[in-house]
Structures are given as C-alpha cells and as structure tokens.
C-alpha cells in the first residue's frame, strides 16, 4: 500500500511537472490529479481520432405522387405533335400519379478530415433514388483558414443559388418534405468545380458570412431527345448571409457564360456560345423557437432561348412541441422573353415556349420530430394559375411544372396536387 502510494505520488508529481518533491500531498489530491491527467490524456487521444476525422450523414426515404389521372394529349399534326403523347403528366419531369419511392429518397455521407490546425478536407457523397442511387460527389474540397475568420475552399462546391441551396438534399434541415419548386426548380444545376472565399465578421450583434466564388460547371442534360452538355464558364458570384438574434437574411448574385452544342439534334441555330446568364436571390428567415417565417425570391436571367424566370415563396409554421404545421404560398413566372420571339428564329422561339413556366401553389404540411435527428413529414402542394395565356405567347406551355410539352393539352382538373410523405434522419 505504501509502495503504491509512493508510486502514485511520483507519477502525479512527475507528470504534472511539479518540482517540489517534499510537498505534502493528500491521497485525495493525488487522486484528483490522476483523474485530471487521465481525463486530459483520454481527451487528447480522442482528439486524434474523433476530432480529426468525423463522419456525418443524412438520409431521406420519401413517397410522392400527384392526382392528375390524365394522359398528355397528342398535340397537332407534324411538328406540333407531342412526343410524350399518351404518357402521364410528369411533375418536374419525373413524378406521376403512380406512387414513386425513388423521387425523394436519397442518402448522403460526409467525411471531414482535419489535416492540420488550418487545413481540412471535406467530402460529401450523395446517392439519389431517382439516379438509381448512383453516387456522386456534392462537396469535395480543401478548406484552408487564412485567418480564423477567412476561409478559402477549393474543389467541388455546391452552388449558393438560393437560401437553402447548399443543403437542399438534407431534408432534416428544413420543414418541408421538398423545397418549394417555385424557387428550387429555377436553376437546373447544383454544383460547380472551383473555389470560394468566405469572410466571417460581426457588426455589433449581427454575424455575417460574406462569400465570393469562382469556377465552372459541365452539366449533361437529357430533357431533349438527345444529350446536351451545358458548359458554364467563368462562374462567379457573391453572397451575404447575416444573422441577428432570431432573424437571418440572405442576398446573392451570380454571373456565368453558358455554352451548349445542340447541333446533334439538328438544332444548331439554338446552340449557345458563351451567352451571359445571371442569377440573384434574396431571402429572410425568422425563427423564435415556436414561430417560423421565411420568404425568398430568386431569379435567373439568361440572355438566350432558355427563358428568364423568377420564383418566390412565403412560408410560416408554428411548433407545438414536436408537431409543426406549416403553410406556404409560392409563385413562379417566365416573363419578358420578347427578344427571343422577335428574333425570328422559330427553333429558339419554340424552345422558349416549351421552357416557360407560370405557376402558383399552396402547400400545407406537417412535420413531426420523432426524436432529435429523426422526423416524419406529410405534405400536399396544390397548383393553380399555370396558364401562360397572360403572357400573350400563344402556344406556350400551359401546365406549369407538369410538362415541358406545349402540345400536351391543359390539365383538366382544377386542383392538380402533389402529395409527399418523407422520413428524414441525420447522423
């Protein structure tokens, strides 16, 4: 016993760097020091493993369908025929009146590795049901802290097109089963390859993140009968995210030059060669713990046949314990494409007409938090005012986001509704 006490004392004294060997130490004091040493060695061991590499993930399982039990019409003769005649209406090109278990389902895994005090590497892999769970990197970058408040990142980054764009696949991070399509359907690409620079600063009690990015993107698109690769070059943008107590705001602007070769489909005159395209977005959020309010407006202005489009929504919800009912009104519209129609290029004019979207919707939803990290959501989104007649562009798409064909005939029922049920988790 005496030996053990001596040994303990020696260990504690040596380890804590004490120089006075004669110092009288009680058994309690020794125990306390040992405990603290154990704690700090345990924590430093932990920091080498759990702090340096962390793995997080998110998953959503969802079912969705709409209520338009009607097939697309045949259209007119010759070039006016509808290539999708007899097929169902496809909301956002995919959802039909059959239940889909794939459309909303996805899983993501993120690995953060701390390389040194200033440098880390982050990789996030996403696999979506609608892509047959083929995995793709959404984020893959090196982050270097030039100062604690100034970070440079390079690699693959998610585009900050709108307020929720950079976490649009993380269902648990928002109250809807799906982000409002009026805004999140506008820009048809999510990621870019390049870099960004973010400066975090405060003015009084307001925290800000000011970020600028530069990069490029190549997006294959299969919505036409042949594959088109859209090339975005010199993609630049700036955005500001600010937070003050329960309020936060979002402002963004971006600019790029878009090219696409459509000659493979005999549409050479519609090919794009470095046409300027810019987007902007403004948003506000309020969340006092019970009451949630958000509003956002985004727009995309391509100087090409791809039509100009803006979209916005206003949403509010209230948390009753684990339950959160919410309501959203959204609207989107393509307008002022007169330059395309007056250019005398019939191919471009018909592409514009097919891609024009006018639509409004009411969404009613309910979120239930099963436990911290797991929720279940129910949602119904009813669309109206999808006619493009008001734009005086005869022959335009009259079915909003339910088809891109201009000759499908109007949806007959006056309450086209998309239903969604999702279970989301983060881990």
């Amino acid at each position: 016993m005496r030996n053990r006490r001596y040994w303990l004392g020696a260990l504690a004294l040596t380890a804590s760097g004490a120089v006075c060997a004669d110092q009288a130490l009680t058994m309690e004091e020794l125990d306390r020091r040992l405990a603290s040493l154990e704690e700090s060695s345990a924590s430093s061991a932990a920091s080498s493993v759990s702090d340096r590499i962390s793995i997080n993930g998110f998953i959503t399982y969802g079912v969705t369908r709409h209520n338009v039990h009607q097939n697309q019409g045949p259209g007119g003769p010759g070039p006016l025929a509808n290539p999708s005649a007899g097929e169902p209406f496809f909301y956002r090109e995919r959802t039909t009146d059959d239940i889909s278990h794939r459309e909303l389902s996805r899983v993501g895994v993120q690995i953060n590795a701390e390389i040194n005090e200033r440098t880390k590497a982050v990789m996030q892999i996403l696999a979506r049901g609608r892509d047959n769970y083929d995995a793709e990197a959404q984020w893959a970058y090196i982050d270097y802290a030039i100062t604690p408040s100034l970070h440079w990142r390079g690699g693959r980054l998610m585009l900050p097109n709108s307020m929720h764009s950079q976490y649009l696949n993380v269902g648990y991070a928002y109250h809807w089963a799906a982000l409002p399509s009026e805004v999140y359907d506008i820009v048809p690409f999510d990621t870019m390859d390049g870099m960004d620079l973010t400066w975090s600063f405060r003015t009084g009690n307001i925290s800000h993140d000011l970020s600028a990015f530069y990069g490029s993107l190549d997006v294959p698109d299969n919505t036409l009968p042949f594959t088109v690769v859209y090339e975005g070059r010199n993609y630049t943008g700036i955005n500001l995210r600010s937070r003050w107590n329960d309020f936060s705001t979002w402002l963004s602007y971006s600019h790029s030059e878009l090219s696409a070769d459509l000659s493979a489909g005999g549409l050479a005159s519609a090919s794009l060669d470095g046409v300027p395209i810019h987007g902007n977005s403004v948003g506000v959020q309020y969340d006092n713990g019970s009451l949630v309010f958000m509003a956002e407006r985004s727009s995309l202005v391509p100087h090409a046949w791809f039509p100009e489009r803006w979209g916005g929504y206003v949403t509010s919800g209230y948390r009753f314990g684990k339950w959160m009912p919410h309501v959203t009104w959204g609207a989107t519209n393509s307008h002022d494409n007169s330059a395309v129609f007056s250019s005398g290029n019939p191919v471009n004019a018909s592409l514009t007409q097919a891609n024009m979207v006018r639509s409004k919707s009411w969404t009613l939803g309910l979120r239930y938090d099963i436990a911290p990290g797991v929720d279940v959501k129910l949602e119904a989104q009813q669309f109206y005012d999808m006619s493009n007649d008001k734009l005086l562009e005869t022959g335009s798409n009259v079915n909003g986001m339910f088809t891109t064909s201009t000759s499908a005939g109007a949806i007959e029922r006056d309450d086209p509704t998309v239903y969604r049920i999702t279970v989301d988790a983060v881990f």
Binding site: E39, S43, Q166, A173, N205, K322, P372
Partner: protein
Amino acid sequence: MKKLQWLASLILFLPMVVMADIVVVVDKDSPITSISQNQIRQVYLEGGGKVDGVYVKPLDLPEQDKLRDRFYQDTVGKTPAQMKSYWARMIFTGRGVPPRSVSGVSAMKVMLENNPELIGYLPANQVSGNLRVLHQIR
C-alpha cells in the same frame, strides 16, 4: 444498507441537480470576466468566437442531458431537435461543426480547469474554486 443510503442521497440530491441554476464558466486563469447572453449565443451557434478579444471554444454536455437542453432553451431559445436541424445545415455545408461534447459534469469541470481557452456551463452548485462564473441563468 448501502442501497438505502444511495437511494436517500438520490432523493435528496436529484431535485437539487435538476432545479439548479446554470452558470457559464471558464478557468480562473482566463482573462474573460463576464459574458452577455448574446455572446454566449454567438459562441455556441458558431462553435467558437471572441469574447473580450479572447478566442474561446465552447464545450457541451452530452446529448439528452437535461441541463444541456435547459441551457440551449434559455440562452439560444432552441429545442434539441431545432439545434440538431441547425447543425445539420452547418455541417453539411462545411460552415461549422458543433461544440465538442464531454461525458458529463465532472469531465466538463476537469476540461475547463485545464484549458483556459474553453468555455462551458455547469449546475451552479458544482462550481469549484478553480473556475470563474461569467454568467448566471435564472
């Protein structure tokens, strides 16, 4: 008999622990002498920050700890589920990582006593002489 003592102490001390005031503390060697509720909120929502010109990193009690839930409810005004959703946005956009969690109150004390750059919270009746109280919550 031992079991009885244990039960008695549980009955005596449990309500004290549950109802204790929460204090925000640092090591007594830290130059920080006070912190506002808004600063606490910023440090805990941003995973760190400057207080009185000194950079501090926050520590958390484990998830599902009642004191942690009360701390967040009283300072940040968010439930555990809301915090989880907040950190989901931060983690998956690479904008931040949540404060490091320690195993419990005693580990929180030891970590704070040995690291003046850390900030944490404890039940008011658990503060030792080596710690400085910066803020008291109710």
